[in-house]
């Protein structure tokens, strides 16, 4: 089932990092030194045996290569596209220490996993039925990884999601020049191909289902609900038309369409990775002037430097040391009035107004502490669900992973946490007899 519109807005984007041809992949794979105790493996949250999968590409043993990847990370296809490899595996390639470009691990992983999908190779079978069942709340990467691993151990799984979209932010939130929604949907379908994973859409805890009902119906629970709505800036003009949450905006145009013909200039407020994604997307969608408004200085941005450098090359400009004081306009936003700060983020007394008929707020997302508190027995730290090393919450029988537990990290972290939680749940269910 595809939930995406064929004519949707994101369809205009091409891959920022194009796929390798067969020859390119062979050539790059052959450059890999096959390090012992390789640093790239340690840099991968899911610990993929990268030198081995690359060696298998170099010998044209692609099926075994793909298996090596998926065995460690069932979301290896999307991670190949969306991982910030520059700060993970590729960033730790030993070639960075000599005059040699690092191995393009993400592109090689994409090469192997894309072939696996194209050929519809399946590597894993469900384990013998244990008679146990697990509820997974949220249909994002953490739950998919968890459910797949649970199926390998023979436990029945039901995933609940309040929306009718599978894949979570991988489907609705990933920058389209990294991966489009249909790839995420294809990934989910491929993972669900192991069989025995039910998905119930439209299930909203607190509205039409209770935590207790889920706990009663299942032997264990995994919570992978992600984060809540975009944070809002409580300044004058906050309700003007054209002031939109960044995640909300992206979630609208990825599977569907947005009308942007009238937008001449846009402002994105924030300095994190969602803000950088948003500015690059707006430029890609053809908006003539896109400005990032950030309170701090350039080198203090929390977004990845390699992403910001790409944004600058694409024509994004930034207004650093700028704190929005008000959204201006009547009915519809026309500009953002900012206080000019000094390097210590203190007001200088100066102000500037930046014209904007679209303002995206990318200053973080709410934590779902309120929703999760209703579970009872779960504890929180700065809004995140507290989990131990095996992703167990403080409530017996309940595990958590992904953004709700880590505060908002990468897909690869969700994949790792979901898988490890599944292994702990398996031990729990088998121990509980």
């Amino acid at each position: 089932m595809s939930t995406v519109d064929k004519e949707r807005t994101e369809a205009v984007f091409e891959d920022f990092k194009p796929a390798y041809s067969h020859g390119q992949a062979l050539s790059e794979a052959n450059r890999c030194l096959f390090c012992a105790d390789a640093p790239c493996i340690k840099a991968c949250p899911t610990g993929i045996d990268i030198p081995q999968f690359i060696r298998k590409i170099s010998t044209e043993n692609v099926k075994a290569s793909a298996k090596t990847i998926f065995d460690a990370n069932i979301l290896g296809m999307s991670c190949a596209r969306v991982c910030p490899v520059e700060t993970l595996c590729v960033g730790d390639c030993v070639y960075n220490h000599m005059d040699e470009p690092p191995i393009q691990i993400g592109k090689l992983q994409r090469y192997a996993t894309d072939i696996a999908y194209a050929e519809d190779w399946r590597f894993f079978r469900a384990g013998a039925d244990t008679g146990k069942s697990v509820a997974l709340v949220g249909a994002g990467p953490a739950s998919l990884a968890c459910a797949h691993e649970l199926r390998r151990h023979g436990h029945a799984c039901t995933i609940y999601d309040k929306r009718a979209v599978v894949g979570g932010l991988n489907t609705t939130g990933v920058a389209p020049y990294k991966m489009r929604a249909e790839r995420s949907e294809a990934e989910a379908a491929w993972i669900l191909g192991i069989g025995g994973i039910e998905i119930e859409y439209g299930v909203e805890i607190g509205a039409n289902k209770s935590w207790d009902a889920l706990l009663e119906a299942h032997d264990a629970m995994f919570v992978g609900v992600g984060l809540g709505p975009d944070h809002w800036l409580d300044v004058p003009g906050r309700d003007l038309e054209g002031v939109v949450g960044a995640v909300d905006f992206i979630e609208r145009f990825k599977p569907g369409t947005v009308e942007l013909a009238a937008v001449k200039s846009a402002v994105v407020v924030g300095g994190g990775n969602t803000a950088i994604d948003a500015v690059r997307e707006l430029v890609g969608l053809g908006i003539p002037s896109v400005t990032m408004v950030y309170r701090g200085v350039e080198d203090k941005m929390s977004g990845y430097a390699h992403e910001w450098n790409a944004a600058k090359q694409e024509g994004v400009v930034a207004s650093f040391r700028s704190q929005p004081l008000a959204f201006e306009g009547e009915g519809h936003v026309t500009g953002v009035r900012c206080a000019v700060l000094d390097d210590a983020k203190q007001p200088t007394g100066l102000q500037r107004v930046i014209a904007a008929d679209l303002v995206l707020l990318a200053i973080g997302q709410a934590k779902l502490e309120g929703l999760l508190a209703e579970l009872g027995g779960v504890t929180f730290e700065r809004g995140r669900v507290v989990v131990d090393e095996a992703q167990a919450t403080t409530r017996k029988g309940v595990w958590a992973g992904g953004d709700c537990a880590n505060g908002g990290k990468e897909v690869v972290n969700a994949a790792d946490e979901g898988k490890r939680a599944a292994q702990a749940i398996d031990a729990f269910l088998k121990g509980a007899g």
């Binding site: 052959n30 096959f34 012992a36 390789a38 640093p39 070639y95 000599m98």
Partner: protein
């Protein structure tokens, strides 16, 4: 002033780089173009009773990102009429009197040898090369390596050729023998003015694993071919040196086998070759590789104080000795330059799995630069060979206080060997 002027067994050329008898020296048009670009000589593709060839004919051995580090062929001698070849040889010689045109020959009977030698000399050949080496197609007909593998036959045919020829005769030797020396000596005894080696090595370059047939595939079958290219150079260097170091062997050598660069040529010359022959590199990249070969050789000679090729020939031969003469008390150990090390730890895994288990991770865990246990390091070189960083691992001599002593001295009761190093 450096002179590349070459004399190999009486055959002179402006430089030591000759095209080997092979497809690049198949026709006058090709050879003349090669001379224009700077080649010093050419050994014409072997003449004999013209044959027919198959399709396909060549195979490449590819490794990682390198194509054709080894090469094999199942092509035979010339497939063009003799009179056409002789006409082109004549024209070429007229146009390029100072270049060496050597004619490679392969026929069966004494009468045939007499006839073809006369025609070659009449056409203006500066020398002859007797093809006693071809390991495929021709040997089954009693020629090529079938001759080269029998020293008595080799000697006899060589003596015929020398008798009939008024120009120098080189005998091209096959490497498909256990020991090259008797074959070189047979050529010498037959009166040959020099030898050229190696011809190609009998080979199967690969197998089509989907269709269950070796390569190169001809319809649905294949056959063994002759192996050459860079991968065979170590074998060729050994065979050249094996002849050069023999006190009985006294005639000049034209070195062949994996010469791709000036550096390779220097190696052959230092081990006793007075000219070198090149085929595969030209087949892969064209005659224009000669530019770098000539300039590189000149620069090498200048920087090492050689003014003539003759002065270089065999310079490394005395350095080639029997194992029993090596100094057993010489000791070296590996040192890692921690500033250059990139932490790939290939040296560590190689040492652990393939050598003497003396390279270990840093105990503090703060660095990926491995640590060498010098008390265990036997100085084998493996770590240096696998290290991807230039000059990162060096083999350093250790002064262990032991006077030099060889195994032969030890057997003779002279000299004391140092204790065996390492517990592995």
């Amino acid at each position: 002033m450096v002179s590349l002027k070459t004399n190999c067994g009486g055959i002179e050329s402006p430089n030591p780089f000759w095209l080997a008898s092979a497809p690049p020296a198949n026709s006058g048009e090709q050879v003349q173009r090669a001379f224009d670009l700077g080649w010093g000589g050419a050994v014409w593709k072997t003449l004999g009773t013209p044959i027919r060839n198959v399709s396909s004919r060549f195979g490449g051995l590819h490794y990682r990102n390198e194509r054709a580090i080894g090469f094999n062929n199942i092509e035979l001698i010339t497939d063009r009429p003799l009179e056409v070849n002789f006409k082109e040889i004549y024209d070429t010689k007229k146009k390029y009197p100072k270049h060496a045109v050597v004619v490679s020959l392969m026929v069966e009977t004494r009468e045939e040898w007499k006839d073809i030698i006369k025609r070659s000399v009449d056409a203006g050949a500066d020398g002859l090369e007797l093809n006693f080496g071809c390991p495929h197609g021709m040997c089954e007909r009693g020629m090529g390596s079938a001759v080269g593998q029998e020293p008595r036959v080799n000697e006899e045919i060589t003596s015929w050729a020398v008798e009939y020829s008024s120009v120098p005769v080189l005998v091209k030797l096959t490497p498909n023998v256990g020991d090259i020396l008797p074959h070189g000596l047979a050529a010498q005894k037959g009166g040959g003015h020099g030898v050229s080696l190696i011809n190609t090595i009998k080979s199967i370059i690969g197998v089509d694993i989907d269709n269950f047939v070796p390569m190169p595939v001809v319809a649905n079958k294949s056959t063994n071919g002759g192996y050459c290219g860079q991968a065979v150079r170590p074998i060729a260097l050994h065979m050249v040196a094996q002849l050069a170091r023999s006190p009985e062997f006294k005639i000049p050598i034209s070195g062949i086998g994996g010469v791709a660069t000036w550096r390779d040529a220097v190696e052959f010359i230092l081990l006793g070759s007075s000219s070198v022959q090149v085929c595969t590199e030209v087949m892969l990249r064209g005659y224009r590789v000669i530019d770098d070969m000539v300039e590189g050789l000149e620069e090498y000679m200048r920087s090492h104080g050689f003014s003539t090729i003759d002065a270089m020939v065999g310079k490394a031969v005395p350095g080639y000795s029997e194992w029993g003469e090596l100094d057993m008390n010489y000791e070296s150990i590996a040192k890692i330059d921690s500033d250059k090390c990139i932490g790939c730890q290939l040296c560590m895994v190689a040492c652990h799995d393939g050598a003497h288990q003396c390279i270990h991770p840093d105990a503090s865990g703060t660095t990926r630069v491995p640590v060498i246990d010098e008390s265990e390091c036997v100085g084998c070189n493996l770590c240096q060979i696998v290290c991807p960083v230039p000059d990162c691992i060096s083999m350093v001599e250790v002064d262990n206080g032991h006077a030099p002593a060889s195994w032969n001295q030890h057997l003779a009761g002279e000299g004391t060997l140092r204790p065996k190093k390492g517990s592995h």
